[in-house]
């Protein structure tokens, strides 16, 4: 993975596969503590204790199409490489929470990358049945996006409609610029 936005896109796919209805993506920057915390929560099927323990094992996956599962392992490795930490909390039937802490100014921290593109792909997917709550906290401000509000506003217009898509893209872009997110 070249950047953090790709990690987010990747980890959220786990939530989608766990049939989550509501997925939370939270990015918090703490310049004083030199930390960048990425949290992904979902209300999907969750995992039992054994699965949680094995989830970060690169040779464990619940897929049948291949024998490796690298998503969480790579995310963990990247976080720990920057002096950070990584945790998974999960409960069967309730959902899962993945938290990765990075050293904000650490030289090995991957860049944020194309966060707008990542969010746009997730949010405007035509067949998506999940809603998203995205929160980004920086030193200068906070941006919150709830796709349930967007769907409500759109009524019967699809969120994947090209004009809506470009509107949402600009909206996210402007708001993230406003709060000056770290690259």
């Amino acid at each position: 993975m070249k950047d953090l936005s790709l990690h987010i896109l990747d980890i959220v796919q786990n939530s989608i596969r766990a049939k989550a209805k509501l997925i939370g993506i939270e990015i918090s920057e703490y310049p004083e503590e030199d930390q960048l915390v990425i949290t992904i929560t979902d209300d999907g099927t969750g995992m039992n204790q054994e699965q949680v323990q094995r989830a970060i094992d690169p040779f464990y996956t619940s897929r049948t199409t291949r024998n490796v599962g690298l998503g969480l392992s790579l995310f963990k490795q990247n976080a720990e490489m920057t002096g950070g930490s990584f945790t998974i909390e999960s409960e069967l039937g309730k959902g899962t929470k993945v938290t990765a802490t990075f050293g904000l100014k650490h030289i090995d921290r991957p860049i944020m990358g194309d966060l707008v593109g990542t969010l746009l792909l997730l949010i405007t997917d035509a067949k998506s049945e999940s809603d998203y709550v995205f929160k980004h906290q920086t030193r200068t401000g906070r941006y919150e996006l709830d796709t349930r509000q967007i769907r409500q506003t759109l009524e019967n217009v699809s969120i994947s409609h090209p004009e809506v898509r470009s509107f949402v893209k600009e909206m996210i872009q402007e708001n993230l610029e406003q709060i000056q997110i770290s690259e």
Binding site: M1, L6, T65, R66, L70, G117, A126, P162, E163, M171
Partner: protein, 131 residues
Amino acid sequence: MNKIKTLADLKKLQSEVQSKIKLREKGDIPESLVQIKVSMATCGIASGAKETMSFFIDELDHQGIDALVTQTGCMGYCYAEPTIELTLPGKEPIVYGFVNKTKALEIIEKHIKLNELVDGIIPVNYSSIDN
């Protein structure tokens, strides 16, 4: 400086789009559309599936081709990522491997528009004449 877009602006856009939407009613029936599934698991993402998917969405929209571009899981062809599954209306799905932007454009120009197969097909949906 421009004002930041809000949900109120989205509401305005919603009513504009609403009036236009009746002109393209078939958008609600996926079978009548070009359907593209982009494999979006760790293997795909690490190989650039995100760029491929964004490219398909933007390019098809730009060319005015009604298409449904969605994400799917790993199809098991990790060596050939990014992979896509393309289904033209009334046709069998076809899987392409190593779909970068150049390949994606070739697929749009030849396969989608002219119905000519392009190099790079992974024969997964192969069925023999007896079945």
